[in-house]
């Protein structure tokens, strides 16, 4: 079959063609919304028109087969309109109120998971992991699945004090927004890279490699026409490996996962916050990483029990203090928790006032 003629630089299709008529009509004229249940909300326009949204969980990796099925549902109940959210959920956009319940019923029958709206957990922003990335220290999709099986009811039903945003990044490049999440996992290397001197000399520019290291752990090794890494200074960020592939940093037994908590993105109430280290290291335990899942669950439960309504995880911790966070969660405080990098000044305590815990 002959290929059609290619075009270049046309950009994405105009969004308008994908908008349901009720949205086109009431564009920029919405008045309010209401969350009807954990998976359903309605937006009401100045005109009185309404659009209903039913949100469905997605594993983000979708086979085309599943997308066809979703399309079938959208055709049947939504006049062929749907969207995805910034956290990779699927949203069915319903103009005809009477179709909500039938849609939900069919979704249930087909084992889709409805939920994620309002003060609860939504989908987990995550990354490629072993599925596709050369840089991964773990598998993101597997961690998400294991975690969400355990936290399932917080997506489908249970309320929390506020939204809790989870994320997983499979290396410190952090494609997955882990740096500002309520609770997140970030995978780490914890061993200094192994240098293949022969190849480094041939494949990489030594000054670039030396310059890539944020802690100046790398020195040229003129004898070998390669580089050497200072054991005491390397903190395994992998940046040298990114710029020079023969520097190998993967290690089956010492790649693992840290848990960070207390980040946030919106400016409501308090400024956006970075996530902070809660637990420095877990070994990879595929396929279900049970210790990590239990630790996340524990943190979430402690938050749910202790935070005030509308308080995000980070807001709650800042109110009670990190001393209290470690006490309440039973997490051990280690040398790893004390910043020795760029935020050190910012994070060391400079006050005689603190809690004993």
């Amino acid at each position: 079959m002959a290929l059609p003629e290619r075009q270049t630089d046309i950009g994405p299709p105009h969004y308008e063609q994908f908008l349901p008529p009720v949205i086109k009509k009431n564009y920029a004229k919405w008045k309010y919304h209401e969350v009807l249940d954990p998976g359903t909300m309605v937006h009401v326009a100045e005109s009185g028109d309404e659009i209903y949204t039913v949100r469905v969980a997605s594993p983000r990796i979708l086979a085309t087969e599943t997308i066809y099925e979703i399309c079938d549902l959208a055709d049947k109940y939504c006049d062929g309109y749907l969207r995805f959210t910034s956290r990779n959920n699927i949203e069915f956009l319903i103009s005809d109120k009477s179709k909500i319940d039938p849609l939900k019923k069919e979704l249930k029958d087909r084992k889709y998971t409805v939920g994620g709206i309002g003060p609860r957990i939504s989908n987990v922003v995550h990354t490629q992991g072993w599925v596709h990335c050369h840089s991964a220290c773990t598998d993101a999709s597997g961690l998400v699945k294991a975690m969400m099986d355990e936290l399932y009811e917080y997506f489908t039903e249970k309320e929390l004090p506020n939204k809790v945003r989870l994320a997983v990044a499979c290396c410190v490049n952090m494609c997955g927004a882990v740096h500002c999440s309520d609770i997140a996992l970030v995978a780490l290397h914890t061993k200094i890279p192994v240098v293949d001197n022969d190849k480094v000399g041939k494949m990489c520019e030594i000054p670039t490699v030396v310059g890539s290291c944020p802690t100046t752990a790398i020195r040229p090794n003129p004898k070998e026409k390669s580089i050497t890494i200072n054991y005491d200074k390397c903190m395994y960020c992998g940046n040298c490996f990114t710029v020079c592939p023969p520097i190998s940093i993967k290690d089956a037994e010492r790649d693992g996962v840290a848990i960070v908590v207390g980040g946030k993105i919106c400016s409501l109430r308090s400024d956006p916050k970075f996530s902070k280290l809660a637990i420095p290291f877990f070994y990879n335990e595929p396929p279900r990483w049970p210790k990590i899942v239990a630790a996340v669950k524990n943190i979430l439960d402690v938050y749910a029990r202790n935070a005030r309504k509308h308080e995000r995880v980070g807001e709650w911790i800042e109110r009670v203090g990190w001393e209290e966070f470690f006490k309440l969660t039973g997490i051990e405080f280690t040398h790893q928790h004390i910043d020795d990098f760029t935020f050190m000044r910012d994070t060391l305590r400079t006050s005689a006032a603190f809690k004993w815990a």
Binding site: P4, T64, E65, V125, G142, D149, H179, S270, H310
Partner: protein, 401 residues
């Protein structure tokens, strides 16, 4: 049809109520040998706790420098079908809205040339097609582009811009995020497809301070909707919230960061000049409160992931800018921002890192924005103050400070 590889570990991840990516991969594997070997290699990773992908490699389509992430297996003999396993980034439509017709078309093409696996969506926003080989790239591009779909960004270029759904469905959007992103993406086609920058540059547009697209944390240039004017109060609706069981004192008054809300059990009052527009009260009482007055956006610059000196959140650079079609003012501003960065950055230096090196002043001067208290949480804490000769003429000779 049974699959080529045994996957006992991954099978564990088909259990449990949350939708399973393994199930998705198996679905695809039934139709695609690529997906089948992808699954096999993944099982091996689960067994050994190691990834088996090589370190990139440059592949692409003619005339473009990005949009495809080259990926090769480390174990091409064991998993020949994923010897190549490139991903394609398709520039998503604003707000991730689709019709089923469009989605089906995308899938049908993908089934013909690729693994049948997708990411809906990538974390920059693209519609990601997961796994194909080098030969299929040109045909795929011909098929997609002829139907109106173009590639997204990768490499040192303007990355695919993205936005929250904004005015399409949200009552709080202060400007038309979807239209702005559509327009900017069209404006920057060349910069998006032909990486010529020092490093990546990301733009994200959120309609209000809720920032549902994480722009302040994940884009070099965040456009965040805001307003200049009072919050209008519908006291009848306030009463309904109170009657409905809301503890207005604790949930609204007590949580306003500027202490500018008060409530006497009857009437809600807002001390508007003191409000910092954080959106909390509006978000939690959407039927009762709404912004009024002039609408526009705050431009924040510089956020990025932690490599290599710790994460950055974007910094307020332009506290307020009008955002109205044809977006001339905004486009000119962004052009100046990118130009300054591109002129000054070293390779692999993001704009936030560059500003850290140079200081805000040269940046602000280059883009023509005056210093304003809104740009800082607090003024400098050290006495190491840099002056230019002209500062003495301009400012410090005045009688007033």
């Amino acid at each position: 049809m049974s699959l080529k590889h045994k996957t006992p570990m991954l099978d564990e991840l088909e259990k449990g109520p949350w939708p399973s990516f393994v199930t998705e991969m198996k679905k695809a594997a039934k139709k695609s040998p690529m997906a089948e070997d992808g699954l096999g290699q993944l099982e091996k990773s689960y067994q050994t706790k190691l990834g088996y992908w090589k370190h990139g490699g440059i592949v692409g389509v003619l005339g473009y420098g990005g949009g495809v992430i080259g990926r090769y297996s480390d174990l091409p003999e064991e998993f020949p079908e994923v010897a190549h396993f490139h991903t394609i980034r398709i520039n998503q439509p604003s707000g991730w809205y689709y019709t089923t017709k469009a989605l089906r078309e995308i899938c049908e093409i993908w089934d013909r040339y690729g693994s049948g696996l997708t990411n809906m969506h990538g974390s920059t926003g693209d519609l990601v097609l997961l796994g194909t080989n080098t030969e299929s790239l040109e045909p795929l591009f011909a098929e997609y582009s002829s139907r109106g779909w173009d590639l997204g960004g990768s490499g040192s270029c303007l990355r695919t811009p993205s936005c929250c759904l904004g005015q399409s469905r949200c009552e709080w959007a202060n400007y038309d995020t979807m239209d702005v992103i559509y327009n900017l993406t069209q404006e920057y086609q060349d910069e998006l497809h032909r990486p010529a920058f020092a490093y990546k540059f990301k733009i994200k547009a959120a309609g209000c301070a809720c920032d549902c697209v994480a722009s302040i944390a994940r884009s070099d240039c965040a456009i965040i909707g805001t307003w200049k004017g009072d919050i209008l109060i519908d006291q009848a609706e306030v009463k309904k919230y109170a009657d409905g069981g809301m503890n207005i004192q604790d949930e609204i008054v007590g949580m306003c960061p500027t202490e500018c809300v008060s409530y006497d059990g009857k009437e809600l009052k807002i001390n508007n000049p003191q409000c910092n527009r954080c959106m909390h009260c509006i978000a939690k009482m959407t039927r009762a409160l709404r912004p009024s007055g002039e609408r526009g956006a705050t431009i924040c610059i510089g956020s990025k992931a932690p490599i290599v000196v710790g994460s950055l959140l974007s910094w307020v650079v332009v506290p307020f800018i009008k955002v109205e079609a044809p977006y001339t003012e905004l486009k000119e501003l962004i052009a100046r921002i990118i130009e300054w960065w591109d002129d000054n950055a070293k390779p692999r230096e993001r704009i936030g890192e560059l500003i850290e090196v140079k200081g805000m002043r040269p940046f602000l001067e280059a883009i023509g924005v005056p210093p304003q208290p809104q740009q800082v949480k607090e003024p400098r804490k050290d006495p190491f103050i840099f002056f230019k000769d002209e500062d003495f003429e301009k400012i410090y000779t005045k009688d007033k400070y």
